[in-house]
Symmetry: C2
Subunit: 155 residues, 2 copies
């Protein structure tokens, strides 16, 4: 769908979009909040989702759990308005800077999916590493919003 | 190596680190600059790299091009001092907030790997989408620093 990658110099410092999709046809996407700078989520796009995002200025992803194009906010109402789209040196990952107003981007109900941190230092037992909460307030109640939608988290 | 994932509620809202590695044993990692908030790079870790990062407070990744643990900055000197490690809701991606001082994190020489953006709007021809530079100044000359190291960018 996009320009063919046939020259490394062109991929790294050229002026054309030549994204690299993995063996499943996906490219990883980092989404950050333009107001706070926080990372909101880590997702994936296929070519169509990238094209739709560029054209509509609203974030579209590929849902790996539902196996279809996912217009973020379709169910929850928390659409991500895209302020900027960046692409990295070898064009195999995308960074979206988005405005979510006072909304949330995490299906668990928090503003960011990254609501916990891993304390650093000597590990005594890798099977017992405790993590701690960084965000404590849920923006919405996922049970009310998603109702019978299956949980995208898999074991 | 880490605690077994056997309960979705525990993965999402529990207190233990239960990271999910993909079919290649890797977890994606977003690295941001604690000073500017900019995303510096998108990488991967295996379990060992995650453990080393937690313990040493310096970013370690899995180099997919060299197929080995990669202590970032080993060659370039631009070590990433980790200020915080976050994990997302389903524990299948990691966010590192790092201090790189006045250094760089991109093998092409820029501070961030995301030095170009994709202008938004109607696409006339997906094969001719032009991207534009956001960073114009290289922090270092990669030819001088990396010498004969192979370029990690692949077509």
């Amino acid at each position: 769908m996009f320009k063919k990658r046939d020259n490394i110099k062109e991929v790294e410092e050229g002026k054309y979009l030549e994204p690299k999709f993995d063996e499943n046809g996906l490219i990883p996407v980092i989404t950050s909040d333009f107001k706070t700078g926080d990372i909101l989520m880590h997702g994936h796009m296929n070519g169509e989702a990238l094209k739709k995002t560029i054209e509509t200025k609203e974030a579209h992803y590929w849902s790996r759990s539902r196996k279809k194009i996912w217009h973020k906010g379709q169910i929850s109402g928390f659409v991500q308005l895209v302020k900027e789209i960046r692409i990295d040196d070898d064009q195999d990952s995308v960074w979206l800077i988005v405005d979510i107003k006072d909304g949330a981007s995490c299906h668990v109900g928090y503003r960011s999916c990254f609501y916990r941190f891993i304390p650093m230092g000597k590990i005594l037992d890798t099977k017992k590493i405790q993590i701690e909460f960084k965000e404590s307030k849920k923006i919405f109640n996922p049970k009310k919003i998603y109702k019978d939608e299956p949980n995208p988290t898999k074991l």
